[in-house]
């Protein structure tokens, strides 16, 4: 066994030593091991287990949790098609089919020569420039039939990814409407310098005055969170920026980290000053791996400018630095306690709460977890003061909100508005026409129909993490809901019974409806499932898993009714379909080998 491990030790040793043989960095170690070797080999697991003093089953347990990590050989080129509904609307399935055909490979499998594997993945955060794919975890956007053919050619010729045409990897910011944040011309260090002229408590007071609320969607008071954490006792305090932007349809954090990274890191530093933290983490979703070098460069520059490190900006004793932690494909890690588990190198399972992260977070120490946009807002408040900020937006929702607009509109991209903007206004600005519905805040959010377009973005009416997906009248809202339900099934962590099994049951019911075997009975079943998931699920994922279906049943009933062939009794299975194996075995496919449809429905 030792000799087997030897070849893996060669590339694992430098990785392990860079992470100080610390098991809390397991996810980073696994990710880097895979970047080197292509997948995580069983002997590599044995070697890591030995060096990190973990059981190999624990390592396997962690690695198998994240969908971008592989324990089996994958294609030399791993192609993953982003499968959000917006990608579907742009024809991703047809493009995937043609790529599979051109490369002679079946979706979900590795080609026989080991050259390529093709599959789908959850939304990659490129909805404004889809359809998108990841090739070996690097993003390529704006796929067309021509681009797919070009990619197939590059793959067949074994051209290294680094030599592919650079325009394939171009990613646009698409900032369509700027307000105080996106139009701030922020100078790195300016907010920090201003904040450091005040005490930590005075800065906290400014945040309180600003009435800033978390931008991840839940809207918890940022000042309260910082205050709870500050007053909690612990050996260390931590600041964590949640950049695991996994909600389908959201991509604003990607743009903020691309073009406004200083504002985000500076907000984290201001938070560190307030709560007394020495260390911060940016939890970056694995799909944004391509941003890593850029973000490291920004951090490096900030260290040079004394905006990070020891005695920040000459402030004796104020020491703080930020580390970037990459995720590996798990939506659930956007939930703050699951994110912390993942930061600690474990499976991303949400914790039992209380205690909350503000008192017991990373390594059970007091930890603030805030959204990317929240930290950027904190920088603005540090610069201009809380009163200035509180004046913008509405009474209960201060400031602005950045929306990630995608779907059926002329100008998809980022739109920043003071809170209180109507859905209709956003639709007019992005050039949407014949709009049937808008999905606010992604699958876990709210689906609004045309008669509700006067509703307003804000914590009182339509709270949102930012997603704003537009559907015109050509779209089938049943298929929209079905796509979302499959997303939840794929992303359920599997910890609690109701969500693990319930999301699969729900997906099966929607598939049954799609195949024409549903009945009104199924609607009652979905309602029941919703009540159960709401009252017994462990976290928000289970709580919201039925939302897209219930919303669309209530508002777009005809889309469901057209799925119903039968109005009363319904067999739970398709007897004729179940005979297909027998037909295959007997080589028959004549009328006599089929059941008549009418027989089935009686």
């Amino acid at each position: 066994m030792l000799s087997h491990m030897h070849k893996h030790a060669e590339y694992l040793d430098p990785i392990l030593s860079r992470y100080q043989y610390n098991a809390h960095h397991l996810l980073q170690i696994l990710r880097e091991a895979q970047e080197y070797y292509g997948y995580i080999h069983a002997d590599a697991i044995d070697y890591m287990a030995q060096q990190l003093q973990l059981a190999r089953s624990q390592i396997e347990g962690v690695a198998s949790f994240y969908s971008l990590l592989y324990l089996q050989p994958q294609g030399e080129y791993r192609v993953l098609f982003s499968d959000n509904i917006t990608d579907r609307m742009l024809g991703n399935m047809q493009l995937m089919e043609s790529m599979c055909k051109e490369l002679w490979v079946e979706a979900g499998k590795v080609s026989e020569d080991g050259l390529v594997s093709i599959n789908t993945t959850s939304c990659t955060g490129m909805c404004d420039q889809g359809p998108a794919i990841l090739v070996n975890n690097i993003v390529i956007n704006q796929l067309t039939k021509e681009r797919v053919s070009a990619i197939c050619e590059l793959i067949r010729e074994h051209i290294p990814l680094s030599d592919w045409p650079p325009e394939f990897f171009a990613i646009e910011d698409h900032i369509c409407k700027k307000d105080i944040l996106l139009d701030s011309n922020f100078k790195a260090g300016s907010a920090l310098a201003k904040s450091l002229r005040h005490s930590a408590l005075e800065t906290l007071q400014e945040i309180k005055t600003s009435k800033l609320r978390g931008r991840g969607g839940a809207g918890f008071s940022t000042a309260s969170k910082w205050e709870f954490c500050r007053s909690a006792t612990g050996e260390q305090h931590y600041v964590v920026c949640n950049a695991d932007e996994g909600e389908p349809g959201t991509f604003k954090d990607r743009v903020l980290l691309t073009s406004y990274a200083d504002m985000v890191f500076e907000g984290m530093t201001i938070c560190a000053h307030v709560i007394g933290a020495k260390k911060g983490f940016l939890y970056l979703r694995g799909e944004y791996r391509y941003l890593l070098d850029h973000l490291q460069a920004v951090l490096h520059h900030r260290r040079q400018q004394s905006q990070l490190g020891n005695n920040i900006l000459g402030h004796a004793g104020f020491n703080f630095d930020i580390e970037i932690h990459l995720g590996a494909g798990a939506y659930i890690c956007g939930e703050e306690s699951a994110l912390i588990e993942s930061l600690e190198g474990k499976r991303g399972t949400p914790r039992n709460r209380p205690p909350f992260p503000v008192t017991s977070g990373y390594l059970n120490q007091p930890t603030v977890v805030n959204n990317v946009e929240t930290f950027a807002c904190a920088s603005l408040i540090g610069l201009h003061g809380g009163a200035w900020y509180a004046n913008i937006g509405t009474d209960t929702s201060a400031g602005t909100k950045i929306l990630s607009v995608s779907g059926d509109c002329v100008r998809p991209g980022l739109y920043e508005y003071p809170f209180g903007v109507t859905v209709a206004q956003v639709l007019a600005d992005c050039g949407a026409q014949n709009t049937q519905a808008v999905q606010i805040s992604g699958p876990s959010g709210i689906c609004v129909a045309a008669n509700e377009f006067d509703r307003r973005i804000g914590f009182d009416d339509l709270p949102t993490a930012g997603a704003f997906m537009v559907f015109d009248y050509s779209r089938d809202m049943f298929e929209v809901a079905r796509n979302f339900v499959h997303f939840f099934k794929h992303e359920s962590c599997g910890f609690c019974t109701p969500c693990r099994v319930g999301t699969s049951l729900l997906a099966n019911m929607m598939d049954k409806l799609a195949q024409g075997h549903g009945s009104p009975y199924d609607f009652a079943e979905i309602e029941k499932l919703n009540v159960l998931l709401l009252s017994t699920s462990h976290c928000g994922l289970g709580h919201s898993a039925c939302n897209p279906v219930l919303d669309t049943i209530a508002k777009f009933r005809p889309a469901y009714d057209k799925q119903l062939i039968h109005k009363e009794f319904i067999p739970a299975f398709d007897l004729d379909y179940d005979l297909s194996q027998a037909r295959q075995m007997t080589g028959r496919d004549d009328a006599g080998a089929h059941l008549e449809r009418t027989n089935v429905s009686k």
Binding site: G61, N508, T536
Partner: protein, 241 residues
């Protein structure tokens, strides 16, 4: 029993239950001889909170009673038609998720899943069965692993890690593909340091970890839950002590 001078009480279905600072609702209830249906909870281990069978309404909010700490004067409802209805649905989910053929199962009569299903008057599995493909591991000379019956309670994981210090078992995968694995590259129990003396060998609430060659030593009809329903049967862990 409660030496702690700060002893408080809460109401469980109208009964007064004393509790100490360290106890969760189910721990206090169990100490007072009250039954709240549960599967992943075992009084010998730190609560896990995953099966959700022990869900109760605490001051009107539904929560897992194994992880929720009570407050003085808290009104807890457990044995209500609504909550038992939800438990029934969760049990049915566990039944359709795995492959549970009670009549041929060695654990029948001693199985907490089966006994709790009886307790909740489960008459059918209601949902469509998933019929997952879960091979049996008979590699170990003394023990058999039948993953078909696994409900992912992680008691064996916790016992092996916290008590035996061995980490023989782990959970792997995600979502509906979550599965129990053992600590060997081959995936076989025989290639781990598992032993029949391990705590992990004796904590499975269902029939995954089965001792070989003693099958049906106790005839069906004379087993733990044949004698009394699970609500009247002291938890095996409590009975042993």
């Amino acid at each position: 029993m409660f030496q702690n001078k700060d002893t408080y009480t809460f109401l469980l279905d109208g009964k007064t239950i004393p509790f100490t600072e360290e106890q969760t609702i189910i721990q206090a209830a169990m100490a007072a001889g009250e039954y709240i249906p549960h599967l992943c909870f075992n009084p010998e281990f730190k609560p896990h909170g995953s099966c959700k069978i022990c869900t109760v309404s605490a001051n009107g909010r539904q929560t897992a009673s194994c992880t929720q700490q009570p407050q003085a004067g808290m009104v807890v409802e457990s044995n209500t038609p609504q909550i038992n209805g939800e438990r029934l649905a969760l049990l049915q989910m566990l039944f359709v998720e795995g492959n549970h053929f009670c009549p041929s199962c060695e654990k029948s009569g001693d199985c907490q899943l089966q006994a709790t299903a009886y307790e909740m008057n489960m008459m059918s599995s209601h949902f469509d069965h998933f019929f997952p493909d879960r091979p049996v591991d008979a590699s170990h000379p003394e023990y058999l692993l039948d993953f078909n019956r696994c409900i992912l309670c992680s008691l064996c994981v916790r016992a092996s890690s916290d008590v035996d210090g061995k980490d023989v078992f782990s959970l792997a995968g995600r979502g509906i593909k979550t599965r129990l694995i053992v600590n060997a590259e081959s995936g076989r129990l025989a290639d781990t340091n598992f032993s029949g003396d391990d705590k992990a060998a004796h904590v499975c609430p269902v029939g995954v970890i089965i001792k070989k060659r003693v099958g049906f030593a106790v005839p069906i009809g004379q087993r733990s839950f044949d004698e009394h329903p699970i609500s009247f049967t002291p938890h095996p862990a409590l009975k042993d002590n």
